[in-house]
Point group: C2
Chain length 510, copies 2
């Protein structure tokens, strides 16, 4: 570029930044409304909150689909060809293009219809689930499926109708790739789960004793702090369904749930959300206020949460460090429990009906079956009205159990009842797979990491993740992040090796 060209480019680029920052601020404001809805909203406030969120999202949508923004991106795309592909400018323009295309393909009346449908369906689900009334959800879910298909049709460049959703949360991923990865994983998992669940269960009686909830929360927060979650730039509150949300790099919040008669539920939920929060708190500050200041994909995000929850939080090293403080915190309840017993209890493998309660090993079977069910619906080989039965059949074949009702069957997860059918679940398992690729690479670079964990030190691990994953935010696609950080794209082998090693030892498998 000449100096004049550069000056003209800088002006246009500054306008892009400004427009994207405004859209990002509106996204963050929407997140505040959502956080408050889940944490503190009084019962009566829900209707007005729905209206307010809709107003905000309509305004945001208008800004995100503004034709002037489109023209600006068109011009800048040509400009950045003269810059390095790795430059900040080129990265931002690439993401702006992706977001703009995603937003403009959907006609605004379709967006409004979908938004109304989503909120009505969610409302209906909150009633249907406790009432165990899947039949009431069938017509709504049929509409959801129809809307999902229409959505997909606006993106004819994808060869599979579910690809638009898979690619939406995990750029570059396709149904075909996920299918292959899941097949490989399942092949390894099924015999392992069978072998483990044939062995005697470890002792877990003490997990259900009475543990003061406020004390539980404080303990979880102390570990989150050790992990490196900066509470001066975050906080934890209570919700029915734990989540992480981000209002800015300096305001990344998590939520958890806590039960007096469960020592581990709140703790691991806190560690899981802390894993998400560490990602968001450590994105490059240069991206702040822009659409780059988020995770690379659902899968990479989940790799961070699962790494800190499971690979670290359920490791022997972790419990070598934290069992003492936990026993000091609950001396009466844990008087008859050893460190080894605690380690085994937090890694108990048990076939179960509820995904969010599932252990590290069986969890993926819950995910894979959901992925395949939604795929079957999208492909038209499964009717919505048969979904509840198909669900039960899959649980029988994959986990050898059947839910007594639909409440703990097909109605258990909000995902299908809060928006689209397609692409809602696979990211969880992609995250599990990736978490081991990242862990192995981190330990290869810093062999002292396992030893540090035994001392409650997490700086080297967090540092490696920041350096190789977190800081890039959304400026690089997931596949690029994985390749650069680990030397390969998504690969199942390290994850299976980890599971085989850990559970083989725990359950004395030959």
């Amino acid at each position: 570029m000449t100096t004049d060209q550069r000056t003209a480019f800088d002006t246009r680029f500054a306008e892009l930044r400004e427009r994207l920052a405004e859209i990002q601020d509106l996204t963050s404001i929407g997140a505040v409304l959502g956080w408050d809805r889940s944490t503190y909203l009084p019962e009566g406030g829900a209707a007005a909150r729905g209206r307010q969120s809709a107003v905000l999202s309509r305004i945001r949508h208008a800004k995100a689909t503004d034709a002037d923004l489109g023209r600006l991106i068109d011009g800048l795309e040509r400009d950045v060809e003269a810059l390095e592909a790795d430059s900040f400018e080129a990265r931002l323009v690439r993401v702006a293009r992706r977001d703009f295309d995603r937003a403009t393909r959907l006609p605004s009346d379709f967006v409004a219809r979908m938004s109304r449908h989503t909120s009505e369906t969610y409302g209906a689900w909150t009633k249907a689930r406790p009432a165990n009334d899947f039949a009431a959800m069938v017509p709504r879910l049929e509409q959801t499926l129809e809307l999902s298909r229409q959505y997909s049709a606006f993106f004819p460049e994808f060869s599979h109708p579910m690809d638009v959703f898979v690619d939406g949360s995990d750029e570059g991923m396709t149904v075909q790739k996920v299918r292959a990865v899941f097949a490989e994983l399942r092949e390894g998992l099924v015999p392992l789960v069978r072998a483990v669940t044939e062995r005697p269960e470890p002792r877990t009686d003490f997990v259900g004793r009475a543990y003061d909830v406020a004390t539980q929360l404080r303990f979880g927060e102390s570990v989150a702090r050790d992990y490196g979650y900066d509470f001066s730039r975050g906080r934890q509150d209570l919700t029915a369904h734990p989540f992480m949300t981000r209002f800015s790099i300096d305001d990344v919040r998590i939520t958890t749930r806590v039960q007096e008669n469960d020592l581990t539920d709140a703790l691991f939920s806190t560690l899981h959300e802390t894993g998400h929060a560490l990602y968001e708190q450590n994105v490059d500050r240069a991206f702040e206020g822009l659409p780059l200041a988020r995770g690379a994909s659902a899968g990479v995000h989940e790799s961070s949460s699962r790494l800190w929850e499971n690979v670290v939080g359920r490791s022997r090293g972790f419990w070598a460090r934290y069992f003492g403080p936990l026993r000091d915190t609950f001396p009466q309840q844990l008087a008859d429990v050893s460190e080894e017993e605690m380690y085994r209890a937090v890694n108990v493998v048990r076939k179960s009906l509820i995904r969010t309660d599932a252990d590290e090993l069986t969890y993926n079977l819950h995910v894979i079956l959901r992925f395949e069910l939604e795929l079957a619906m999208i492909e038209g080989t499964l009717e919505v009205r048969d979904l509840a039965d198909a669900w039960h059949a899959r649980y029988e074949s994959d986990l050898g159990m059947r839910a007594p009702d639909d409440r703990d069957g097909v109605l258990q997860d909000v995902h299908w009842f809060g928006g689209l059918i397609g692409g809602a679940f696979h990211g969880y398992t992609l995250g599990n797979i990736l978490s081991l690729q990242f862990w192995d690479a981190a330990v290869k670079a810093h062999p002292g990491i396992p030893g540090e964990i035994e001392r409650g030190e997490f700086g080297a691990l967090r540092g490696w993740l920041t350096q190789n994953v977190y800081r890039f935010g959304r400026s690089r696609a997931a596949a690029e992040v994985a390749r650069n950080a680990t030397g390969s794209e998504l690969t199942v082998a390290p994850y299976l090796a980890y599971l085989r090693g850990k559970y083989g030892e725990l359950y004395n498998l030959s």
Copy 2:
């Protein structure tokens, strides 16, 4: 109107409603951001929150000043001449006109500048106050004053530069009127305060004993519930400075603060904010989502809070009902205290330094002095850098005491550090004056009210207030509400008579 005219009018009026509802929703979203900032925002989150609030307020401002909205109001103003002045349509158009004129006078870059300045100044104040660092606030406050003057200059129709703010919070009020009312009140108050503070003080030692904070909060909330505050459409949280905020008629929240060594601070703050909340929860539902669904003025709002806090909450009848439950709640701490001693303790008159801690009687002296100081700054007879000294001088002359530092001097109230200088305080005392006008009228209509209070029943009082004040929201100006409800405009006599009667009896004045 002909049928055709009526149809055309209905279409235009529906558009007005829709536009005003959107603006109102954006206002409510801003209120959520503000509530979160004061209750749960982590330290690091302040900068981004300031930016988000500014973005939102810029968007809201653009909608509120849209030329099409102006033209719509122009047309509707002509149309509603054919309707009754008291009709819903005429009322809404009148308020829309007022808001539109207020909003269009301020250029949008000025609004953005003010909003940024406000949030930065507030942040600086939260640090400067504990550090007792008034000097750090001087340049910011000078900028606030300058912005306030610029604001005022956009409204040249007002004869006094502070009138735009006085009229802004209390439509129809002027500096001149407030000055006259305050002069009359002060003339009555000064000798009464002198006489009372020459008498021996009642016993108050037990107020400062140790009272569990969670229990204090629960007790306050139980009284708020008795008053009629609907917690399914509201909630209470903790903030440094208590306030009431409204996200919709079904989500009206209050905040309080609580200290272990003060039995009365949290309680009366809760009762005060409950008074505000009762107003907002009982506005006519037909106004919901429109700019009519708020209080008529700062003064009328404050009349409700002061009525429930003081006229009810510090009455002999109230304590006849609630001393028992309070003593049951804190049996050890209140074992040696009688009902009469409690009643006297919550009505102790004591010259003091902190407005929000001041008793019912001296409170107005704190307000009048602030009103006069901000008036002097606006009029240019007091420089910001001399404000701290002027503050101390006025406290010496009016209350015979001097704060040991600025933390408990000029830095004590957020008002000047959270926005504009001018018109921030007078509403409190207008509210006190009005509260007695409303109380007298309510008791005249329902002579059983004092007896009901002794039984913890508040339905007749709340019902009269709803019928005569609350339900009208902002559809009627304050003066009209007062006149219709009490038969006269703002008048000091009932308030002075109440104070003379109550404190004459309490302190045995002849």
